[in-house]
């Protein structure tokens, strides 16, 4: 799993490439925390390059959501593929987080 970040007006985008599983989850959680701490309160997690996610990976997203909210910001997810959407719906997490089609849609009107 590779992570990279980029700036958008009003938001920081975290790009996740590869398999977001139990091995990658702690690193993502760490990265999201440090992003929030360095002032990026609005975070978009870009899952366009993510070809697999498990419950631990989603757990890291929930952890990130908590960090952002506590800092007065928010977290959104974008670009989820079919496997990711399936897991989101299996765990009901789509009842909490809306999967935006892409980063542009996620930051639109935020």
């Amino acid at each position: 799993m590779e992570f990279s970040t980029s700036e958008q007006p009003g938001a920081v985008v975290v790009h996740c490439r590869g398999r977001l599983n139990m091995v990658a989850a702690p690193r993502l959680k760490e990265l999201l925390s440090s992003t929030v701490e360095s002032g990026g309160q609005r975070v978009v997690v870009d899952l366009t390059g993510t070809d697999f996610v498990d419950s631990s990976g989603l757990g890291a997203l929930v952890g990130g959501l908590k960090r952002c909210r506590q800092a007065g910001g928010d977290l959104r997810i974008a670009g989820a593929g079919q496997q990711v959407l399936t897991v989101l719906s299996l765990t009901n997490l789509d009842r909490v987080l809306r999967p935006y089609a892409d980063v542009a849609a996620a930051v639109d009107g935020w």
């Binding site: 139990m22 419950s55 757990g59 959501l65 928010d74 977290l75 009901n92 809306r98």
Partner: protein, 650 residues
């Protein structure tokens, strides 16, 4: 072959039992003494239901034989949970854990956060985990919280969970991981076996009936229980459980919070208008925002979207109000700080009870105070779970025995569990009566909490077999009430001639004896080669404890009372101690009454005050059985465990 015999005996026992109990209800209740006759027939019905559930359990007794080899490349974290056990004990377990053959990482989960434990872990080269900063001033959820904390700091695919005293066999992973080749398997449980127990085991620590036929029977129904230690779990299953629970609980809490907010705002608005406070008008907008959020939620909008938009709107609105009555705001802010929702003392569950929310809604707020308290209320239950250390709690926290609740939820999500019948860890049992009673009390309270909070009979996703397997264990913890009746009835008959049954004649015996004999035979066959007698004894002899567990668990779940629960010490108290009269007082009273009743009964028969020889004989035999069963508690009270310091060193 043995299974066929068991099934025949189950069928016969239940037939004989049904005939007997039907005859009791329909033809032999002595209504003249209904106040003891009805409790007695109820107690007998309770026992028959217990027998039905036991029969169902062993009907599908499953022997799994040799386990498959572990999946290739399985990664494993070994968790050793500790709170206040001696460092040497944990160290001994950690040393043994390092020797487990299958590749793994070993972690000590020290909830006591002890520097000497940390130093010992570092010396051994095992991982050391304590609660993160997030847990400060938040509910700790005991062992479940300790495990939940560790789950988010580790990354193994499977987790072996060991209590601080459970010394694992080097083969424990090689013998259990193979079952996870089936991707639906979430749990493999192995037995608990204790080394510091004498041959006669007066405290009844070994549970060979449970870690044997009962677990094997439950396994047959895909309902093998998780027992908190000596078990391997699949991380993915736990995480999924955590996510599903997080979504469900947050949804409910936000819905409730919005309903309260709606009432609170309406009330404050009415008051502001009555007092002619112009600042109140902003509350009309707040009201609209609350209504909009509730509509969006009902319409299936994702929660984070709804609450995010709602909180932003609240911030805008409160900005409009700045400059309003500062004093009133100050007073309210003080109040809001106190708003932290009430929590259950042991489980730390947020008690979002009606009363607390009512108090909140009824308080007189200033307009800005109303907005701030709505915002605070929402924040404490919102998607970030401000009220909890971490948003996801994979290990269930509804009960002080997290294992059973977690397992039931896993089964509810469609995961499978396995019972592997091979002792692969050796532990330490309580060493005196007091410690043993504390442990039993905690188990029974925890089990009953699960029954009252998440009744298995109505849980979605469970098969009927699974529901009945959970009920069977919970049902057995209600035995205290029946035990009292079984102790009192013969005393009443022998002393006062109070006859609960129409007649203790031959007809009674002809119905009762086949049932009793078949029942004993069934136990003998099911429990062949293991000692089931201690378990029988304690289900009657600990009647005060079982009743206390029922009463305290109900008071806790329904009225939020504390359980009076203590962490079970793993080390006994050493040295000579006086006989613990107070611990066994109810049993002492019962035994005295039984003995006196026997003497009185024989005298009454001799003097002609009582006329039925069979009646007296049946009741004297009954009393003799009660006394034999109860005797265990006095052996237990005198018992001191053999020294085991040498074992720890070796």
């Amino acid at each position: 072959m043995r299974l066929a015999l068991i099934r025949v005996l189950v069928t016969l026992t239940l037939l004989a039992g049904t005939v007997y109990v039907s005859w009791r209800w329909l033809f032999s209740v002595n209504w003249e003494y209904w106040w003891i006759a009805v409790p007695l027939v109820l107690a007998e019905t309770y026992t028959l239901v217990d027998a039905v559930l036991f029969g169902l359990t062993v009907w599908r007794l499953k022997r799994r034989g040799e386990p498959p080899p572990p999946p290739e490349d399985a990664t494993v974290d070994v968790f050793i949970t500790t709170y206040d056990e001696p460092v040497e004990m944990v160290t001994a377990t950690a040393v043994a854990a390092l020797d487990i053959r299958h590749p793994h990482r070993t972690w000590v989960l020290d909830d006591g956060d002890r520097p000497e434990m940390r130093a010992a872990a570092e010396r051994l080269g095992v991982g050391y985990l304590t609660r993160s900063e997030d847990w400060r001033d938040r509910p700790r959820h005991a062992k479940a919280g300790n495990l939940n904390n560790a789950l988010f700091q580790t990354e193994g695919e499977f987790l072996l969970i060991l209590d601080a005293d459970q010394i694992p066999d080097p083969a424990i992973l090689d013998r259990t991981l193979g079952y996870f080749r089936d991707p639906r398997v979430a749990l493999v449980q192995t037995p608990q076996w204790f080394t510091n127990v004498t041959e006669s085991d007066p405290l009844g620590s070994q549970a060979p009936l449970f870690y044997g036929p009962i677990q094997q029977g439950k396994d047959g129904w895909n309902a093998a229980f998780f027992c908190g230690s000596n078990a391997v779990l699949r991380r993915e299953a736990l995480m999924q459980l955590g996510l599903v629970g997080y979504v469900r609980e947050t949804h409910q809490a936000v819905q409730q919070a919005l309903a309260t907010a709606s009432r609170l705002v309406a009330r404050t608005l009415r008051r502001a208008r009555r007092d002619g406070d112009p600042a109140g008008e902003v509350l009309v907008d707040v009201q609209q925002a609350v209504a909009g959020a509730r509509r969006a939620l009902a319409g299936g909008e994702p929660l984070a979207e709804v609450t995010g938009a709602f909180q932003r709107r609240l911030r805008e609105l409160s900005r409009e109000l700045v400059g309003a009555d500062l004093q009133a705001i100050q007073a309210d802010l003080g109040e809001i700080a106190e708003l932290g929702m009430e929590q259950d003392q042991e489980t730390g569950l947020v008690v979002v009870d009606e009363a607390a929310l009512d108090r909140l809604a009824e308080r007189e707020w200033s307009p800005l105070g109303a907005i701030a308290s709505v915002a605070e209320l929402l924040r404490s239950v919102d998607v970030d779970r401000g009220d909890e250390a971490q948003p996801m709690m994979p290990m269930a926290t509804v009960s002080v025995t997290e294992d059973m609740a977690t397992c039931m939820r896993l089964h509810g999500l469609g995961w499978r569990s396995v019972y592997h019948h091979e002792v692969l860890a050796h532990g330490l049992a309580p060493e005196d009566l007091r410690t043993m009673l504390q442990q039993r009390l905690r188990w029974s309270q925890g089990t009953l909490q699960v029954l009252l909070r998440e009744n298995p009979l109505v849980q979605r996703g469970l098969t009927w077999g699974q529901r009945l397997m959970y009920l069977a264990t919970m049902w057995s913890y209600l035995s205290g009430f029946a035990a009292v009746v079984f102790l009192v009835a013969p005393v009443l008959y022998l002393c006062f001639g109070v006859l609960p049954v129409e007649a203790f004649g031959l007809q009674f015996l002809s119905f009762f004896i086949p049932y009793m004999v078949l029942n004993q035979l069934l136990f003998a066959v099911v429990g062949y080669g293991v000692r089931t007698w201690r378990g029988h004894q304690y289900s009657l002899a600990l009647f005060p404890l079982w009743i206390r567990a029922c009463v305290t668990a109900a008071a806790n779940v329904w009225f939020g009372r504390p359980l009076g629960f203590v962490v079970t010490p793993k080390t006994g108290v050493r040295g000579r101690q006086p006989f613990p009269w107070r611990l066994v007082l109810p049993q002492l009273v019962a035994v005295t009454a039984l003995v006196v009743a026997c003497v009185v009964g024989v005298v009454r028969l001799w003097t002609g005050a009582a006329s039925s020889t069979i009646g007296t004989a049946v009741n004297v035999a009954w009393v003799a059985y009660d006394l034999l069963v109860m005797s265990v508690i006095f052996q237990a009270a005198r018992y001191r465990a053999p020294g085991r310091d040498e074992e720890l060193v070796s």
